[in-house]
């Protein structure tokens, strides 16, 4: 059986990849995929905690996280589509309405 | 000639090894059957309309005089497909074009493993299930894995660099996801009624004809039946490959063995859904009015020493000659195998329904298809769940 640290390390790696995606990818859809990666890293921690702590609350949490992720993806991608319609691009380099 | 009985015994003592071998055998058989399904079905799909339309249909291919009503036509087609030249259209995404059919076939083969083809049987003191995959989540596994089947279609259409392929694949996948929800909902009343997600337990719960899913939850069956057609993109819901509009749907650009693979996937999924329908609504491997235990007793009492005779020919069957099947310990195996046959008969009925419906009903329009799924099946499915829950609750907890 793998130790709980190995799960945590794996989760860290996944989360790190997600952060890299958010920070350095210009495509909004890829940014959102990176967010999904991060959510999954957190889920992994939850499930491994379930195993370590000996109760299933963590799995219920994962369930809720997935629910939230589904809603997030639905609304987020709707916004991506709306942005694309409005500005003709979803490249973050060109979406700078908030520029000071 | 020494057969090392001790070695055999040592092997039989290792449960892991026995189960592994059993899994391998089971999978080999299931795979063999799955491979056989498309040729046979293609033959049926050619002969059946011919029959309906008073034509002859393919009947020439054969060895010498042995024509088998054209059955070998399919085999010839398969060989032809494999031997064809591979063409990748210009501008296509080469990698995805290549692997899209693989994406399709993996879920199909995986869900084929989750159907309980027969009851568990006892052999060498082990309980061996006749489904290959037995997981805690029961048929949620089937739903989960089959939902991955969309990628094969979507990516195939997208990678072909052909607008009709893409449109066909989007239509097909939108249709599949739309009908996945009523499909899932139609099975919830079954869980409510039989109280388990395990397909084999559900079949055991249908020991009597009056306990069959179609009797206890007829509306579920109707929804499931419609969804079966929509999920496989079959007529009357074959919008994705409506020849007049979209050339041939998402697999327009596919040829050769990859096309064979896509065909294999489609027919395997049809077969699995037929098996699932029989399992959930038609008692699976149960024979109507003959409970499994009765069947086992019946078989157990028989004395058919065919195998011992054969073994005797090579010199080690003598001790078994006088034993009944029960005493030899194979009666549950034989009963389960009979169950497998029963299930295949029932599934065959549904396969026939696929063909029959295809040549009977006209094609839906896409908006009709979608509104049937979302505006009729979904509310009806929800109401069905609700009503079933209330009825089960009233009957069970006071």
């Amino acid at each position: 059986m793998p130790t709980s640290e190995s799960y945590l390390i794996l989760a860290t790696i996944m989360f790190g990849c997600g952060v890299f995606g958010v920070l350095f990818r210009k495509n909004l859809i890829l940014v959102m995929m990176s967010i999904e990666l991060m959510l999954n890293a957190v889920n992994l921690v939850f499930v491994s905690a379930t195993q370590t702590l000996g109760n299933v609350d963590g799995q219920v949490m994962v369930f809720f996280v997935i629910t939230v992720a589904a809603c997030e993806a639905a609304v987020g991608l709707a916004m991506v589509i709306a942005l694309y319609r409005k500005y003709g691009t979803i490249d973050t380099d060109f979406l700078r309405v908030l520029r000071g | 000639m020494g057969l090392d009985l001790q070695q055999i015994q040592a092997f039989l003592d290792n449960e892991f090894a026995v189960q592994l071998i059993a899994t391998a055998i089971k999978f080999a058989v299931v795979f063999a059957i799955c491979i056989q399904v498309p040729p046979i079905m293609i033959w049926v799909e050619r002969r059946a309309p011919a029959l309906m339309q008073r034509r002859k249909g393919p009947n020439r291919v054969g060895f010498f005089k042995l024509r088998l009503w054209g059955l070998l036509q399919s085999a010839a087609d398969a060989v032809k497909l494999i031997l064809k030249e591979e063409i990748v259209p210009r501008g296509a995404n080469k990698i995805f074009f290549q692997i899209a059919p693989i994406f399709g076939v993996i879920p199909a083969l995986l869900i084929a493993c989750a159907i309980p083809y027969g009851n568990d049987f006892q052999l060498f003191g082990y309980n061996i299930p006749l489904s290959i995959v037995n997981v805690d989540v029961g048929f949620l596994f089937i739903l989960a894995v089959s939902s991955l089947g969309i990628y094969g279609i979507t990516i195939a259409g997208w990678a072909s660099n052909n607008k009709y392929s893409l449109l066909g694949s989007l239509r097909a996948s939108a249709q599949m996801i739309s009908y996945e929800i009523p499909l899932g909902m139609s099975l919830i009343p079954i869980v409510l009624i039989y109280g388990t997600l395990d397909l084999n337990q559900i079949v055991i719960g249908q020991s009597n004809l009056w306990n069959w899913g179609i009797i206890t939850s007829p509306i579920s069956f109707m929804i499931f039946f419609v969804c079966m057609f929509a999920e496989t993109n079959r007529a009357p819901f074959d919008l994705a490959e409506s020849e007049a509009e979209l050339v041939a749907g998402f697999h327009t650009e596919y040829g050769s063995a990859k096309f064979a693979l896509i065909f294999l996937t489609e027919y395997v999924v049809m077969f699995i859904l037929s098996c699932l329908a029989s399992t959930v609504f038609f008692g699976g491997w149960q024979i109507p009015f003959v409970p499994h235990d009765t069947l086992m007793q019946l078989i157990g009492g028989l004395h058919i020493p065919v195998l011992p005779y054969l073994l005797d020919l090579v010199g080690w069957g003598a001790p078994f000659l006088s034993l009944s099947l029960q005493e030899m310990g194979v009666h549950s195996l034989i009963a389960s195998l009979i169950g497998v046959a029963v299930l295949f008969i029932k599934a065959g009925f549904f396969m026939w329904m696929y063909v029959w419906v295809r040549w009977t009903l006209p094609r839906f329009r896409y908006d009709q298809l979608m509104s049937l799924g979302w505006k009729f099946m979904l509310p009806v499915g929800l109401a069905n769940i609700f009503v079933t829950a209330i009825i089960v609750a009233i009957l069970n907890f006071k």
Partner: protein, 118 residues
């Protein structure tokens, strides 16, 4: 034996099988390099290619959104169905509230015409 071991075995087998099938014609099939420029053009019933690849209707996307959300709902219902007998009427009430809220959303979706394909 872990119940997922067969899954793994089948998975590996299916991948190998798929690759073999996919590669089969690559190795067995004939390789004629005809020079005709129309041979590997996307097939449109034999007539020359027309137009660009269009953008797809947003309807497909809306369908996918609704699919996700109702899929989640179905999962919730599956969980309820497995615990149905222990939860009893309490569970029915819970799920009724849950469903009433979602049916409100469904009604909105229908009224808003998000399911119309025109």
């Amino acid at each position: 034996m872990n119940p997922y071991l067969p899954v793994l075995i089948v998975l590996v087998f299916a991948i190998i099988f798929g690759c073999i099938m996919s590669g089969l014609s690559h190795f067995i099939g004939p390789r004629k390099r005809t020079l005709s420029p129309v041979k590997d053009e996307p097939y449109e019933c034999g007539v020359p290619m027309v137009g660009e690849r269009d953008k797809m209707s947003v309807k497909f996307y809306l369908t996918a959104i609704l699919f996700i959300l109702f899929d989640i709902e179905t999962i919730f219902l599956y969980l309820w169905a497995t615990t149905f007998r222990e939860l009893g009427w309490f569970g029915i009430v819970e799920v009724t509230i849950f469903l009433v809220i979602l049916v409100a959303g469904y009604v909105y979706v229908v009224k808003r015409g998000a399911l119309e394909w025109d």
